[in-house]
């Protein structure tokens, strides 16, 4: 029996008159690489930001089990603390702090969380830089490196605090093929090491890295597919996903 990290019931999010999430109910489990797919405007990014405590839900109940928090009613302080200590984020645009070097961007996340000593943070940063192959780029500003390097740094920044959940919103959306592969490989490695991941994507290749796929349509989950863990190119898995997606006219 997998441990539940998030349990959402009837999650609703409205922007003015527009109802983006229309009563989503879901559970996310520890150790899973969950992928949310859906067409543009289906509400998948909104769902990710709600789960990540970046924005507030308009209705429903969302429980985060590690802290026993109902995120629908959590204070701003609680949400800030969750973002700092429990969650990591990777965005489509890298969203690194433009005035910090890649190394400083990674280290900054550790400093903000405040759960490790400066020495531990420095060591962890060093390890991640090596792991992400950023040795040459680490002292450069985000504007001075390639998109792939910046996104790898963003992944390193997201995981430096060993988050309970890594949220990734279209992390390969702005990358070329080679860089996309690199970033996806990184996520796979992290998942293999036990990192729980929630990925939002409309890229079939990216979705194949997950072991659980949820399909969102008009603000509601309309399908779920369980896949075996990713272990390299696997035609069977690809076909399974493709035929499942065909059901949604993908």
């Amino acid at each position: 029996m997998k441990e539940v990290i998030f349990q959402g019931t009837d999650l609703v999010k409205t922007f003015g008159e527009t109802k983006v999430l229309q009563g989503v109910s879901l559970e996310l489990y520890k150790g899973d690489f969950t992928v949310i797919m859906g067409s543009s405007g289906s509400g998948k990014s909104t769902l990710l930001y709600m789960l990540g405590g970046m924005d507030r839900l308009s209705g429903g109940q969302l429980l985060y089990y590690n802290r026993k928090i109902d995120m629908t009613h959590a204070s701003e302080k609680q949400l800030t603390s969750l973002r700092a200590e429990e969650f990591g984020f990777v965005f489509q645009r890298t969203h690194l702090v433009s005035s910090l070097t890649l190394e400083e961007n990674i280290r900054m996340a550790g400093l903000i969380a405040g759960s490790m000593s400066e020495r531990e943070i420095a060591e962890k940063t060093e390890t991640l830089i090596r792991q992400m192959h950023l040795e040459k780029a680490k002292d450069r500003l985000p504007a001075q490196v390639s998109g792939g390097e910046a996104q790898r740094a963003a992944v390193a920044r997201a995981v430096i605090t060993k988050p309970a959940m890594l949220f990734a919103d279209e992390p390969t959306g702005a990358l070329n093929k080679a860089n996309t592969e690199e970033v996806l490989n990184l996520l796979t490695v992290l998942h293999t090491e036990g990192q729980t991941i929630l990925l939002v994507t409309h890229d079939r290749e990216a979705a194949l890295r997950g072991n659980r796929i949820l399909y969102l349509e008009d603000g509601a989950i309309v399908g779920e597919l369980k896949l075996s863990p990713y272990q390299g190119k696997d035609i069977k898995r690809e076909q399974e996903l493709a035929s499942w997606l065909e059901g949604f006219r993908w």
Binding site: R83, V97, E104, I121
Partner: protein, 778 residues
């Protein structure tokens, strides 16, 4: 035209915060500038007109005894057109327990001189009938003696049954001596009281008489006369015997300066402050405009790809911002007269009359045109960037930046982030730095003046007095027991030092001045050269410039019909009579004057100077035949009060300016850093910590700017103020490090910037990270 309308509408929607802020800043600048200008110009012309209306000539000489004979004699001088004699009685007086430093001048009100009568607030009322036993006074006496209608003023005419009490019935506008800066005061009384006083003075025994009859001689220079004011005065003195009866004399111009001293201090400082505000306006407008241009760069590029020429796009911006600046300037101009009127009403107790203000139209329009021109040039230069926007390059442009190395640690994370962002975006903070420099220089200058002035006006006391002292006692006859008086003083505080001073009228090269004669010349405040001896004199900077003299020159000094030559040994400071005085040694003066009479005033330095007022009050109450005074004078309170008001007003205006500047600059910075802020937030940095880090940037930059400004003022301010003070006869100025000139601006300016930045960064709290991040997404 339609496209301009669309552009302006879109720009207004997006930039209404900046536009309103700029409008506000320019309005405050315009109000401050035009109202102080209105007050300055109106004050001068109004008092001059009032003096003419009341019949004061180019020169007024106060004489003792009947003045009619002298008036006739003066009228025979070729350059004199007319002399009007206005009889009066000189008498010392006491109000609410305070004694006058100078004699009052009691004038009978018979309607021949058209005095204006006023309410407490300075509003004109119909001419009243002055009843027996009542007196009308200048409203300035309220600030000097705290006197109100219904209080009693006791005039001392004779030691023996010669104290006449009159009740204050109201106020009148005295265009010549009404200001609180002038100790001589006129009192309008009834004909019956005047006659009774004449009776007392004429029948009192010589040893008892305190008051005396005299007159004001209003002398008008003939229109054909080409003599300067100085030469005109000299011609009258040389051509008549008036100097033998002269008590004192004033040229119209010098009394005008006295009358308007406080008002000129206020309007002068506000005018100078307007210059600082103008610079701040330019900086903030420029900063705001460049932020808008930067923000709209993509839109500009898109418009250019659609074929709209850069000049037309720029014209849109010029129209909008030029329009706002114009509106602000005109708004200020519109209300300047009303504000100046309010200021004039507030100054009634200082100026002694309600200045009727009128916007100096021509001067204001010229100034307005100059301001419009300066703003226009500035806006054209600032919008030049729009022409340089290359369409596709801009659309494709990605953010860059220069790498900065600063430490980032856990302990002071907010501070470290602030420093990094500062280093990274230093261009954005230059405006803030420059504003801090300008404001701190100005506030430091005014603070230094406040420090120099001291809580009780000590700075001015020393500048206006011949030599430092706590207490001065002048006996008028041999019956005064000076030994006993000194023992009384020592009850209050041991006497540390003592010297003697006499103030006598002399002429230097034919020009009348007051000679300050000391038995110990080391007490003079020497600015340059050496102290004087029996063959030499000291002059002030004012005398030096009036008579074109310098150290080493020889002058002819005369008094009592005797003339001697003296060498000028040095320049000394004594702003008394706007610096129209000279310093002499007792030995030197003895060559032309009688030093054995009761001319000497004994000056005492007390071990405990705080006891001087107690000693003075005791002596005034218990001894007759003496004049007791401290180093202060009645008008001083007015100046100290005015200075404090000025400091408060200027700090308030500065605070408002800081508020609006921070609103505009922080808006720009927050816009520029939206992305980074969102990222920090997504990493779990709380809004509070982000706000602190944001406000800290303001604190760091402004502290640096303020430090620079204060350093600048420490080096240059004293020199600048000294130059300004010379025009008031004060030759030296040194403030040093003080709370008001150094500490106050150094704390207040950065703290205000920090607090306002903190307040405006509250926007960060309201915007969700998702919005911030998606806003920053392409």
């Amino acid at each position: 035209m339609k496209k301009y309308q669309m552009l302006l509408k879109a720009a207004w929607k997006k930039q209404k915060g900046s536009i309103c802020g700029i409008f506000f800043l320019v309005s405050v600048l315009s109000l401050c500038l035009f109202s102080s200008l209105t007050l300055y110009v109106s004050g001068r012309s109004f008092v001059k007109k009032e003096m003419n209306r009341l019949g004061f000539g180019n020169l007024t000489i106060w004489v003792s005894g009947a003045g009619e004979g002298l008036a006739e004699e003066i009228e025979n001088v070729s350059d004199v057109e007319q002399v009007i004699c206005q009889p009066l009685i000189y008498a010392g007086y006491e109000v609410n327990g305070a004694y006058s430093d100078n004699e009052g001048q009691l004038i009978v009100y018979d309607g021949t001189v058209p005095y204006r009568f006023l309410t407490r607030e300075g509003k004109e009322i119909p001419t009243p009938q002055i009843e027996k036993g009542s007196v009308y006074i200048s409203p300035a006496m309220r600030s000097v003696f705290d006197v109100e209608v219904g209080n009693t003023i006791q005039f001392e005419l004779s030691r023996k049954d010669g104290i006449v009490s009159l009740t204050v019935a109201g106020y009148f506008a005295d265009g010549f001596m009404g200001s609180s800066m002038i100790d001589m005061k006129s009192f309008l009384i009834s004909g019956e009281d005047y006659a009774a006083m004449q009776e007392i003075v004429s029948h009192a025994a010589a040893v008892d008489v305190l008051g005396r009859e005299g007159a004001m001689l209003h002398i008008f220079q003939s229109p054909e006369s080409s003599l300067t004011a100085l030469d005109f005065h000299r011609a009258i003195q040389e051509g008549t015997d008036v100097s033998l009866a002269t008590e004192f004399s004033y040229r119209q111009e010098s009394i005008l300066n006295y009358m308007l001293l406080l008002q000129n201090i206020l309007s002068g400082f506000l005018l100078a402050f307007s210059a600082v505000l103008f610079l701040v306006c330019i900086i903030v407008t420029g900063n705001s405009l460049s932020a808008v241009v930067e923000q709209d760069k993509r839109d500009v590029a898109v418009l250019k790809t659609l074929g709209m020429p850069g000049t037309e796009i720029r014209n849109g911006y010029l129209l909008l911002y030029g329009g706002v600046v114009l509106a602000g300037l005109f708004f200020g101009l519109l209300f300047a007269e009303r504000i100046a009127g309010g200021m004039a009403r507030g100054l009634v107790s200082s100026t002694g009359l309600l200045i009727s203000v009128k916007l100096p139209l021509l001067l204001s329009l010229l100034l307005l045109a100059a301001l419009i021109l300066l703003f226009a040039v500035f806006l054209i230069l600032r919008t030049g960037k729009i022409l340089a926007v290359a369409p596709m390059e801009t659309i494709r442009e990605t953010a860059g930046g220069k790498q900065v190395r600063t430490l980032i640690g856990q302990r002071f994370l907010e501070w470290d982030i602030a420093l990094r962002e500062l280093g990274f975006g230093k261009k954005n903070y230059i405006a803030l730095f420059v504003i801090a420099v300008f404001l701190s220089v100005f506030l430091a200058v005014i603070g230094r003046m406040g420090t120099w002035l001291g809580p009780n006006g000590e700075g001015l006391m020393n500048a206006f007095s011949v030599a430092n002292h706590d207490l001065g006692v002048q006996p008028f006859n041999r019956d005064v027991p000076m030994d006993e008086i000194e023992r009384v003083i020592e009850w209050y505080s041991p006497i540390q030092e003592t010297y003697e001073l006499a103030m006598e009228s002399v002429t230097v090269n034919g020009q009348e001045y007051e000679a300050n004669v000391l038995n110990d010349t080391n007490w003079f405040h020497i600015l340059r050269g050496r102290v004087c001896d029996g063959d030499s004199i000291l002059i002030t900077d004012t005398v030096a410039s009036e008579l074109q003299l310098s150290i080493g020159d020889t002058v002819r000094v005369s008094a009592n019909g005797r003339v001697e030559s003296y060498r000028i040994s040095g320049i000394y400071q004594c702003a008394n009579g706007m610096g129209s005085n000279i310093g002499m040694s007792m030995e030197g003066y003895s060559r032309i004057g009688d030093i054995t009479g009761y001319i000497w005033c004994y000056h005492y330095i007390l071990e405990n100077g705080n006891m001087r007022d107690f000693a003075m009050n005791y002596l005034q109450e218990h001894y007759r035949g003496i004049d007791v005074h401290t180093n202060s004078w009645s008008g001083l309170n007015g100046i100290v009060f005015m200075m404090h008001v000025l400091i408060v007003v200027i700090y308030l205006i500065a605070a408002v300016f800081i508020l609006v500047s921070v609103a505009l600059i922080s808006g720009k910075l927050l816009r520029a850093e939206t992305g980074n802020m969102a990222v920090y937030k997504s990493m779990g940095l709380s809004t509070q910590r982000l706000r602190l880090s944001f406000a800290l940037r303001f604190l760091i930059v402004v502290t640096a700017g303020t430090f620079g400004g204060i350093l600048f003022s420490a080096v240059f301010a004293d020199g600048m103020i000294r130059r300004l003070f010379r025009s008031f006869g004060i030759g030296d100025f040194h403030a040093g490090v003080g709370i008001m000139g150094t500490l106050l601006p150094f704390i207040v300016i950065p703290v205000l910037f920090f607090l306002f930045a903190w307040a405006f960064s509250a926007k960060l709290k309201q915007v969700s990270i998702v919005t911030l991040i998606t806003e920053n997404d392409d």
